[in-house]
Symmetry: C2
């Protein structure tokens, strides 16, 4: 590439009164070309004593020669106004573009190179197209264990970190995809009651009906700063807060946005995202839940097993002792789907009642953490977890945590804000329940208003293997308005989440091919 | 992926008075999430009897719930105004996104799949990020010969095509990178004078000091419609027009823009781009010039040879007989660099004088086409081409073509608009000229105003191998203003395009490592 002359040129500001999400300036295309400036090039823009780097866009219509179009990001940072004179100096491309290209060429990235990419991501120095190519490159070429560790550290360093001088600090994670799977709210109080420290950060729903943070929010605030999180955990041994609030590993949120259009989930990036969040809160013992089976994120158990191996490997490189469970994710867990309805299941389980699958799975995960962190002897974790529930200590601990997070410690099921409007869905034939679609039951719950409407969602009245009769209630829908309930009913008619067992699974004759 | 409900929702229009380049709407992020709509999703937007598809962007600040932000593309197409009520219906993703993903996964794309991607590219249905992933996928996974042929056909069908019922239709192409390499303006009149039909479309400069279209434009108009091109070629046997004007293979221009930030040039895409333009004008015989060597696009001769093989293979699949020359591209061709200065070289060569390298190379390429199209016997093409120049027939033919393109047929060198301001650059040492940098001499010519200022540029006063003395003029710079000339001089001091032979090529001692 030819060298660039280092000459500043003056332009008159034209303000576009809208945010571009990135610091973008618009130059006249013909004029820009004269100056060797093209779409995607970087410049430094200077006004009075302020300067910042920006990405060039070009247009033949929006700006005339001698003008520079500035979006709100630029105007706010430079405090310039329409007609002001600014100077623009061409800059080289950020080095991270070369590193992205290197990965696309199949090269191995050094820690400093990965660090630079994440730094530029956080500094809004890379365009959406450039970041999309980064994700595509990692997806297509893969990253090895060293690179994954580097990416984990870079994502972790993109935000704040929590430090505790206590032990053991434990954590759990579920890769998601299963409706109603609220084990966190049972596991955290069990471990905290047993003496571990559990600084749990959780996500909100993206495509599901509720994330753990949404469910916890029916009881108390979940939005805390890093220092508040630290205080709550040191006081109560646990917390369940929204990860997005504490500025922990924020690069991850940006990467998720980019991965969305193609649903690309490069394995190394998934690993790094998750481990970065664990590392940022100082976890030393980690249990991971990978639900597998029809309709889950991992229909192929082989892929899930490979991921499990990688988790354990990367965990050990990061000094986080990790245990992974592949669990049955082909049906929802618990009865409720939606924030308050799931919360009801959790409170039932903590009182030794409620859905057996949620109870068992929670004790399994909690038991594993108890053993890993030497709070229980080998083989005794599960029973110890069960004992902590039965004794009421887990429920008491949740009261304590909820109170520390600003909620009422009563935790009365009758106080939960369940939607006032309810509809029942009936079986349209006799048969045995063969499959309940996670994604479709979530769709219906979302149509009813979840997760925004805390009391909206579905309650399953049957589970896998149940023999049901035509006309029996198979699930209920709750909402806070008749309109939303009607809408959810329409969606339910369309997607039919509960399937009965079939004998003939496919029918073919010679015309079928 | 869960099914989408087919429910239209009403929004109030908020107008953003700026073009986005794509049909983009902005929804409130919280509200969009409620409706399962995310950045990059597609919707149909409807106002009165008009509807169009659009890409969703989300924002927490730009629009409130119930509002939709519309850029100029949307407002113009729907003829809606601020406050108007429009309805929005979620649509599935374009199928081409799945095909792009398939390529990223290493799959082979079917002709219909490639066609769909190019159709969506032309219809502005793919975001910049999605297109960047397409280019990255082709770069990373490659495309085979069948896919390259499909891509060629798809790019060709993205615009108009020219059909001639005449023969032979010949063409040439240079992959570029060499300053002053204006063989086209010599080869076209030779072939046209010999009876071939030569519908030549050329590009304008992107990063160089002049493209063939820029150089031809010093003599006449180069912007013609497809029908005008056809008429000129049928009348004079040749033309030299700007490819962008005739709506031939326009998808290529869009793909080039996307490739720019990473300088990605996936081989299959390069092949398809070039061959699509040739196919669109009905060429049957094609000669390709791949300059190689230091500072050219192909420093590695092996890569150039592979590309040559591919050109011949794809050409034969497309029924275009193709011959490829790897030529010395390590120094500029001719003396002039810049539109009018290059044009002067061309007119000199057509009078049997001027730079020998431009003369020889033009005869070589023309001779090959004369032989391929059976206008010359094997082994006699070069001499025939030379004879056509010496007889004055080639110059007469160029006069005819220039006149048909609306210019004056005089073609007097003294009429060329050479810049009035001139500076001389002197050798600062004795020595033998070892290297003249294509990119740096172009940089200086651009700094002087080329290609916009037709008479701006450089004239080389030495060539590779010349022995020169300190203080001798090694090149001149021309411009139309003192300011630009000063600027070009500054650039010249910085980049020093002419290198003298060195004996010591590197010096190391134990401290160097």
């Amino acid at each position: 590439m030819a060298q660039r002359e280092h000459v500043k040129v003056e332009y008159k500001v034209k303000v576009f009164d809208i945010g571009a999400g990135l610091p973008i300036i618009v130059l006249n295309e013909v004029e820009a070309r004269q100056r060797d400036l093209f779409m995607g090039d970087r410049v430094e823009i200077e006004y009075k004593d302020k300067r910042m780097s920006a990405i060039v866009d070009t247009s033949t219509t929006l700006v005339r020669e001698g003008e520079v179009g500035a979006f709100i990001e630029i105007v706010d940072a430079l405090k310039c106004a329409p007609g002001d004179k600014v100077t623009i100096l061409p800059l080289g491309k950020p080095a991270s573009i070369d590193y992205i290209k290197k990965k696309l060429d199949g090269g191995e990235l050094r820690p400093s190179e990965i660090e630079e990419i994440i730094k530029d991501l956080m500094g809004n120095k890379l365009s959406e197209a450039e970041l999309a190519v980064f994700v595509a490159a990692v997806y297509s070429r893969g990253i090895n264990a060293e690179e994954t560790v580097s990416l984990t550290n870079a994502i972790m360093r993109s935000g704040d970190t929590l430090e505790f001088n206590v032990s053991p600090v434990v954590d759990k994670h579920c890769v998601g995809g299963v409706a109603g799977n609220r084990t966190t709210m049972v596991v955290v109080p069990i471990l905290a009651a047993a003496g571990a420290y559990f600084p749990k950060t959780s996500s909100r729903a993206i495509t599901s009906a509720s994330g753990t943070a949404d469910t916890m929010e029916t009881l108390c605030n979940v939005n805390f700063t890093k220092d508040e999180v630290r205080e709550i955990v040191l006081k109560t041994h646990g917390c369940i807060v929204w990860g997005g609030g504490a500025h922990l590993a924020p690069a991850d949120d940006k990467l998720i946005r980019i991965r969305y259009p193609f649903r690309l989930d490069p394995r190394g990036m998934l690993l790094a995202s998750i481990m970065a969040k664990k590392k940022a809160v100082g976890s030393k013992y980690l249990v991971i839940d990978i639900p597998i089976g029809r309709g889950s994120k991992f229909e192929d158990p082989g892929r899930a097993k490979d991921l499990a191996k990688d988790f354990i490997d990367i965990g050990s490189r990061l000094d986080i002792k990790t245990q992974v469970f592949l669990t049955d994710g082909s049906d929802p867990i618990g009865y409720g789907v939606g924030p308050a309805l799931e919360c009801r299941d959790v409170l039932e389980v903590l009182q030794g009642r409620g859905p057996q699958d949620l109870f068992n799975k929670s004790c399994l995960l909690a038991g594993s953490l108890l053993e890993m962190s030497s709070l229980a002897r080998k083989g005794e974790g599960y029973n110890m977890a069960m004992g902590i529930i039965k004794s009421g200590k887990a429920l008491d601990k949740l009261r304590e945590i909820v109170e520390a997070q600003g909620g009422s410690p009563n935790l009365r099921i009758d106080d939960l804000p369940i939607g006032k409007y309810k509809a029942e869905i009936y079986a349209d034939a006799d048969g045995r329940v063969d499959y309940i679609s996670n994604s479709n039951i979530s769709r219906i719950a979302r149509a009813a208003g979840a997760p925004k409407v805390k009391g909206a969602g579905c309650v399953l009245k049957c589970e896998h293997g149940d023999r049901i009769r035509k006309g029996e209630v198979i699930f209920e829908i709750y909402s806070d308005s008749e309109a939303k309930l009607d809408y959810a009913l329409k969606v339910a008619e369309e997607v039919k989440p509960v399937e009965l067992q079939k004998i003939v699974l496919g029918e073919f004759d010679r015309n079928a091919f």
